[in-house]
């Protein structure tokens, strides 16, 4: 009996327990509300159905969530410019591919060049944020607010206020399927990003450094870590990953729509980090938790779409979820619960004593 109980406790205290429970809850709700949610069929040799759709659509979010997790862990704040940086990267990429034309049927530059240029552009955005946060000690959200508002304007300037279309098959591959390969390319890219990030964080000491800077920046500096550099690096990585996400997103719609690429995705990325059981105040983090969180958010979005909620109205529900999560995470609330529990046990003890 007691071993069974401790086993249960072990399970619930596991880091990925809560994120997985959330994901499971969403899936259960989805199966009840949307008929045929879990069924997968084959169409033209590729799997088709809601689960595939969720995993496919979540790819950009997964990529963003990786960067957002690192930024949150190191600086205790969030990068709210990721959506705008996605738009900038997409604009740069499409502008190079089209060579300045509005709509093209052939590429004017190799895709790899455009991809790298997009990464450089988003890396510059990330470095700008990192400079403000790490070097000048500005609160992360205020610093990233600058690019959050200016980013889409810059993207508009790059594309000259127009939507650049790239009607070329070889470019669309990155947002759909590559030949007969049954897994969508965005999913493949997301998996590669997660594996690389996981390998770097686990095989080098970077993950440990990020956590220690997030827990106590001054103490980390005193033991010899370059906390400014580590914070800067997380923002740089976050920017570059936003560029990758922007590349995938623009390939999906084979165009650079500065107003709509990555719209409201910063909110989703922050939600994914919070749902993954990471404290938004920084410190210890779990990359896998954030990835699960990202899939949970995408499942939630799909369910809401299934319930005929329009895209404009989605933020209302997501905002409520965010508030609930941060309230549950807040130390004041946790203390309140602990006090209530103590009261109950002490009451029980008094009763036991009377008997």
């Amino acid at each position: 009996m007691s071993t069974n109980k401790s086993g249960w406790k072990k399970l619930t205290s596991m880091r990925l327990f809560m994120p997985l429970v959330c994901l499971l809850a969403i899936i259960i709700v989805a199966t009840i509300t949307i008929p045929g949610f879990l069924s997968i069929s084959l169409k033209n040799g590729v799997p088709y159905g809601y689960p595939v759709d969720v995993i496919n659509r979540a790819s950009e979010l997964v990529i963003l969530a990786v960067g957002m997790t690192l930024v949150t862990a190191a600086s205790g704040g969030q990068d709210i410019s990721v959506g705008a940086v996605m738009a900038v990267a997409a604009a740069v990429c499409c502008q190079i591919l089209s060579g300045g034309e509005v709509s093209v049927n052939s590429l004017s530059a190799p895709i790899i060049v455009a991809f790298l240029a997009a990464l450089v552009a988003s890396g510059i955005c990330g470095a700008f944020n990192g400079l403000l946060v790490a070097k000048l000690n500005i609160q992360p959200m205020v610093a990233t607010l600058i690019l959050y508002t200016a980013g889409r304007g810059i993207a508009q300037l790059i594309t000259d206020g127009q939507i650049t279309y790239i009607r070329v098959k070889s470019y669309q591959v990155f947002g759909s399927y590559a030949g007969k390969f049954p897994i969508p390319m965005p999913v493949v890219i997301a998996i590669i990003v997660v594996i690389i990030a996981y390998a770097i964080l686990k095989k080098t000491a970077l993950g440990l450094y990020i956590e220690s800077v997030g827990i106590n920046g001054t103490a980390s500096r005193l033991v010899g870590l370059n906390s400014t550099m580590i914070k800067f690096l997380t923002y740089l990585i976050c920017g570059v990953l936003a560029g990758v996400a922007g590349f995938v997103a623009s390939s999906r719609i084979y165009s650079a729509d500065a107003n709509n690429i990555g719209l409201n995705l910063e909110m989703d990325a922050i939600l994914a980090v919070a749902l993954g059981g990471n404290a938004l105040g920084g410190g210890k983090f779990s990359l896998m938790g954030s990835v699960i969180g990202a899939y949970t958010i995408q499942a939630l979005t799909t369910v809401l779409y299934g319930l005929n909620v329009s895209a404009d109205q989605l933020p209302v529900y997501k905002a409520i979820v965010v508030v609930v999560i941060v309230v549950l995470q807040s130390p004041v609330f946790k203390k309140f619960i602990a006090v209530q529990k103590e009261k109950r046990t002490s009451k029980a003890a008094v009763k036991g004593g009377a008997n």
């Binding site: 609160q139 607010l145 109205q313 933020p315 905002a319 941060v326």
Partner: protein, 341 residues
């Protein structure tokens, strides 16, 4: 005696210096506009009053933002609250036959509700203000689109009478035929200026105002001094919410419509106005008077760009962001200089 003199000198070096830069920047920008665009009527008194007319709502909202930022908090939900207020007012007056008075009341109630909930989460549950108001921002925008995704223009007679009532000034300009055209303002300007004066008095002379500065300067010491930190923060967010509601209504009187994309990025305008006006992001420092100049600079940038004509409206945001960035860097340089001293 000598110590006193050096004391005042030090004060000028710090925050007052930032405010002086701001005022100088405004004067230089406006004077440059008057010289370059003189043929387009930039030098007319009406042009100056237009700064107030088109930014009356922003001025009121920026006042609330300043108070919250002095407590070392922030509110990025104000743009969405404005959109929601405009939409509710337009929807109530046009589709449900409400009077303009009811619409005004509802605007204020919406603002107060946002202030109440956000204030509670920030001050009593100690959640980061940015996360709370980010959620508020998305919530407000989403609610606006739940009410209506179409644009609703306001045709209510009382409302339009309020919005278009011209108050003539004793000065003005002369038309080409020599006819005297008096400059005018709308009632929104009067309300905004009254709000400005009231907030200036509150921040300078009331217990609440001084507590706000004390908390922003150092929360720990304010607590030790026996100030009720949580209650003061709560009141600050409540006041900010109320001003966002009122400012939203003034904004609505300027645009006379409600639509989902309205006032997008207004939170950025309000924050940058406060920062340019000398409010420190780390809290404890800032004045409503400085914020007024922040708002005027924002207004000058946008009227310069619209008068110029060929630049895209995106440039307003980009220039403003660059200016915000410049002032943030300046603040941080001043802060590090202070530390060294």
């Amino acid at each position: 005696m000598k110590a006193k003199v050096s004391g005042t000198k030090k004060k000028i070096n710090g925050t007052t210096f930032l405010l002086m830069i701001t005022i100088l920047l405004f004067v230089v920008m406006y004077a440059a506009g008057m010289i370059v665009f003189n043929d387009k009527g930039f030098a007319k008194p009406q042009m100056f009053l237009n700064l107030f007319i088109s930014n009356a709502g922003l001025l009121v909202i920026a006042m609330g933002e300043t108070i919250v930022m002095i407590t070392a908090g922030i509110d990025i939900s104000v743009g969405s609250v404005t959109a929601l207020v405009c939409m509710v007012a337009a929807n109530q007056m046009e589709n449900h036959g409400a009077s303009a008075y009811t619409a005004l009341l509802m605007a204020l109630v919406i603002g107060l509700l946002f202030g109440l909930i956000q204030g509670f989460l920030v001050s009593y549950l100690e959640i980061q203000p940015f996360i709370v108001t980010l959620a508020g921002m998305f919530f407000g925008r989403g609610m606006t689109s739940i009410i209506s995704t179409d644009m609703i223009s306001i045709k209510n007679a009382t409302f339009m009478a309020w919005a278009k009532y011209k108050i003539y000034m004793p000065f003005g300009s002369y038309s080409k035929r020599g006819k005297f055209l008096p400059a005018y303002i709308y009632p929104t300007v009067i309300i905004a200026i009254i709000v400005l004066i009231v907030i200036m008095i509150i921040m300078k002379y009331t217990k609440f105002g001084r507590s706000v500065y004390a908390i922003g300067g150092n929360e720990q010491s304010a607590l030790m001094m026996g100030l009720n930190v949580k209650k003061t923060k709560m009141c600050a967010y409540l006041l900010d919410g109320f001003l966002a509601g009122l400012g939203g209504f003034l904004f609505c009187m300027n645009s006379c419509a409600g639509f989902v994309e309205q006032a997008k990025g207004l939170e950025m305008d309000a924050i940058s106005s406060a920062v340019i006006g000398g409010t420190l992001l780390s809290g404890g420092v800032g004045t409503p008077f400085g914020t007024l100049f922040g708002v005027l600079i924002k207004g000058t940038i946008s009227s310069l760009i619209t008068t110029q004509g060929t630049l895209s409206s995106w440039w307003v945001r980009i220039v403003l962001s660059a200016l915000l960035c410049f002032f943030i860097v300046l603040q941080s340089v001043f802060a590090s200089l202070k530390k060294k001293n």
